[in-house]
């Protein structure tokens, strides 16, 4: 078989993102919407489908859905409605889900993301409200159902099949997540299941106008796995088509539901799609249609907070941050908010960004923490950067101070520097001068280069002095001495 040329193929990806809204109560009952409690404590008679109970729509959930719609510039119809979707399963207390079939609360919309240097506009088909199911728990000799999750409001965001690479899929999904967080509409915790993504994938030869069979990957619980799963699935499909170039494509890849095995790094078939399930949708007679006014929608729109892409553009144009570090900052609202609070106390945005996204993130990684979940206060990070700015400490010392800050979260970096003589830079000119002389004696070429106008040579010499003193010399004094001696 000849070598497969993957670049001849175009992946076509569509995502269905289920986001649990962080409302106080559930979508159709007053039961608390809360994760992690003992089974079956956050339930009312409605959540277990007791006979005689009726659903009452949660207005807070409607508002959050409309906020999302406004955030992605979607159409918010003044009239939307709920439908019953019938299927029998123990986690479904009524044996029908209340969802929105043909008149959802959000129609269309666009998510704008910068991916690999290009600005992409991903099209949303729709977003609808529905209630989550309970959870089956299997024990050694029986199974139980926890209805705490039953009735938690979900918004399902369905993209158009407009995504063409694993990176794009991840960028789109991360932005949807960020939007939800910026709106304070969800905590979007993939491990706890408040953000769940179903990925639909097909491939086709570049230039083909029609879609080939797609498969669905369920239960992806991290963006990393999502990217790996899509990559491996694209390879699998392309390989199948290349193995059978003369076969009817519809018979080569069959539709089905897959999961991702992170150890084997491949997608595993869960079930072949037989006949499409008949959910017997029809309008929910217990709920009147949702009728909104234009004034309500306008009010939601004018009160939207700053959204990820707006913040992205602001960081790049006003703060001159790099695209890469900006992406890291904005995709995690809490991280970006942390950065914003340090920015109020320190003007060097670039340095702050580096300390937050690289230095502290790296130091905290092992403990599984993030800077915003740690006890390191924004004011202390700002102080640290300000000390470097003023030349009070060197970059090298700053790194050691940061180590201490991670070890003793909450401790004032100025105090750390004050209490440790090693962290105080050398200000004694007489002690620094011999080191400067030594470096100059050992580097005649650099002196020549400098005199020939090469600015870089000066920086090199500074570096050599700092190396010799193990970063303890005050950079200001080293500069001064070198400049004087090179005249």
């Amino acid at each position: 078989m000849s070598e497969i040329n993957y670049s001849d193929w175009e992946p076509v990806i569509g995502l269905e993102i289920h986001v649990q809204l962080n409302t106080k109560s559930k979508l159709f009952s007053s039961a608390p919407n809360r994760f992690g409690d003992e089974p079956n404590v956050n339930i009312t008679d409605v959540c277990t489908g007791q006979p005689g109970t009726l659903p009452v729509l949660n207005k807070e959930a409607v508002r959050k859905a409309v906020q999302f719609g406004c955030a992605v510039n979607a159409t918010i119809p003044l009239f939307s409605k709920f439908d019953r979707k019938s299927y029998f399963y123990p986690d479904s207390p009524r044996n029908f889900q209340i969802t929105q079939l043909d008149q959802p609360i959000v129609v269309g919309g666009t998510v704008t993301v910068d991916v690999e240097g290009h600005t992409k506009h991903f099209a949303i088909n729709r977003a609808h409200l529905e209630d989550d199911a309970g959870m089956l728990k299997h024990f050694s000799n029986f199974a139980g159902v926890d209805y705490n999750r039953a009735g938690v409001p979900l918004i399902e965001i369905v993209s158009e099949p407009c995504i063409h690479s694993p990176k794009e899929a991840v960028a789109y999904a991360m932005t949807v997540k960020a939007i939800m967080q910026y709106l304070d509409a969800s905590d979007c915790n993939m491990e706890e299941g408040s953000l769940r993504i179903d990925t639909n994938i097909s491939v086709r030869r570049k230039g083909e106008k029609t879609f080939r069979n797609k498969i669905e990957i369920k239960n992806l619980n991290s963006f990393n796995y999502m990217e790996m799963a899509i990559e491996s699935e694209i390879r699998r499909q392309v390989q199948l088509y290349c193995q059978k170039p003369h076969e009817n494509p519809a018979k080569v890849v069959s539709t089905g539901t897959y999961r991702f095995d992170p150890d084997k790094k491949e997608t595993i078939l869960m079930r072949q799609k037989e006949e499409a399930a008949d959910y017997r949708y029809f309008p929910e007679p217990d709920l009147p249609p949702v009728v909104l006014t234009q004034a309500y929608i306008d009010n939601v729109r004018t009160h939207l907070p700053e959204l990820p892409h707006q913040r992205y553009k602001r960081y790049i144009s006003e703060l001159q941050l790099s695209e890469y570090s900006t992406s890291i900052l904005i995709n995690e609202k809490a991280l970006s908010d942390y950065f914003e609070s340090t920015l109020k106390m320190c003007t060097n945005a670039k340095s702050l960004c580096n300390w937050i996204t690289v230095e502290f993130t790296g130091r905290l990684k092992e403990s599984g923490k993030t800077i915003y979940s740690s006890e390191i206060a924004p004011k202390d990070v700002a102080k640290l950067v300000n000390m470097i700015e003023k030349g009070t400490i060197t970059g090298k010392i700053a790194k050691s101070v940061a180590d201490e800050m991670v070890l003793h979260p909450g401790k004032d970096p100025e105090a750390i520097v004050r209490e440790n003589p090693d962290f105080q830079p050398l200000h004694d000119t007489s002690a620094i001068e011999p080191m400067v002389d030594k470096v100059l004696a050992e580097n005649p070429q650099s002196i020549a280069d400098y005199k020939a106008g090469k600015e870089k040579a000066f920086a090199y010499l500074v570096g050599q002095v700092m190396k010799l003193c193990r970063g303890t010399a005050s950079p200001a004094i080293v500069n001064e001495l070198l400049t004087k001696k090179l005249k």
Partner: protein, 489 residues
Amino acid sequence: MYRLSATALRELFFKGEVSASAIAETFLKRIGKHDPKIGAFLSLFSDRLMDKAWQLDQKRQKGQPLGKLAGVPVALKDNMLVKGQITTCGSRFLENYRAVFDATVTRLLEEEDALIIGKTNLDEFAMGSSTENSAYQLTKNPWNLQCVPGGSSGGSAAAVAARLCPLALGSDTGGSIRQPAALCGVAGFKPTYGRVSRYGLVAFASSFDQIGPFSTNVADTALIMEVLGKHCPHDSTSLDLPPEPYLQKIDHDIRGSTIGVPWDFLENLDPAAKENFLSAIEVFKKLGARIIDVNLELLKYSIAIYYILATAEASTNLARFDGIRYGKRSQRAATLDEVYDFSRQEGFGPEVKNRILLGTYVLSSGYQDAYYKKAQKARTLIIDLFKKAFSSCQMIAMPCSPFPAFPLGSIHDPLQMYLQDVYTIQANLAGLPAISIPSGFNQEKKPYGLQLVGPQMHDVQVLRFAHAFEKACDFSKAIPPLFDEEVNL
């Protein structure tokens, strides 16, 4: 005491001429003596009732304010929840199901100091027109023990007719209050859809179901509607309207008003029933109402529309009865699918299964357009038809049922049984208020019912026309002889 209206009974109690305990005891004794003849009750709340009555007597002695229904015994159809009490819905599936909360109607009744006396028999999950589909017992018509009381609220109708309680609640999805009221010779009122909260009523067909009262006279209907007709935040389809002064308004004259009669629709009516209906129309003429013909020809489709839409809703409403969380769980079941299959097989009776199958079918992909969606469109046409009709009249008069009470076991074909609802279904399709009131007897002394249908929200108007009719002919005073001891003595 049993001959008294609810209004008269509470007056006696207010005045202190009779205690709530004495009332409760009297009616419990009466039920003990007479109910075995008709089988109206599925359960009695004897201890709970005596406790409540005692508390009520204390309340009166202390001079505390008393509710609108103080001391009045009320029975509930056994598809309405009273916390802690068994609610069977006439089904084996819920044989041991204890309600975990009070229905809104239960709460409203108790807030107004009514004495809830027990639960009455019904067709399983309110599906039927004769109460013969109850999994527990047959209920007999107090006027003729060989005949059905009608249904599905047959137990409540029979209980009020036999004067085992002055008031009872039923639910009406396609005529389940009005038809048994007609067959048992009492007043049965189905309010505007959304007037009375459905919270705590076990759903049959959500967009049709409406709770309403049985009483021996229209003033009592007005009295209990003042208690029940309130907005409820737990029912999203509950109307948010200011309280209506039913009692104050029912006495208003109907002189000069216009009543529509869909003569075309009544062509095939049995001659005796027609004669009864015509004499009722004469009464209205004498009261000064003008009678006009209204064209409601589309109504010939209403049974078909109803049995598509109501079964579609029912098939999903009854999906929750699966043996997982409550109710019947088959002992034979070894797998999840068997829990579903066997529990439902054993728990549901044949008519309920028929309707679940029918409803599942009409919603299936490939059939939904031909059945469910078409029926929805036709329902809209019927709603428009009534709107048009009510532009030329204030009230529509029709018979309530095509013939009087029929012998137990005489109708086997479900389609024949469905025809019982031919005159009642439209009010549910269009969400209209409608009442059946006694309009006389046939030669075998079986009662007839006259039906009055009003425009949406015009519940008071319906009661006003009914009240005028009742005052003019007095059929409401008739008591089935078997249950009228004072005469028998």
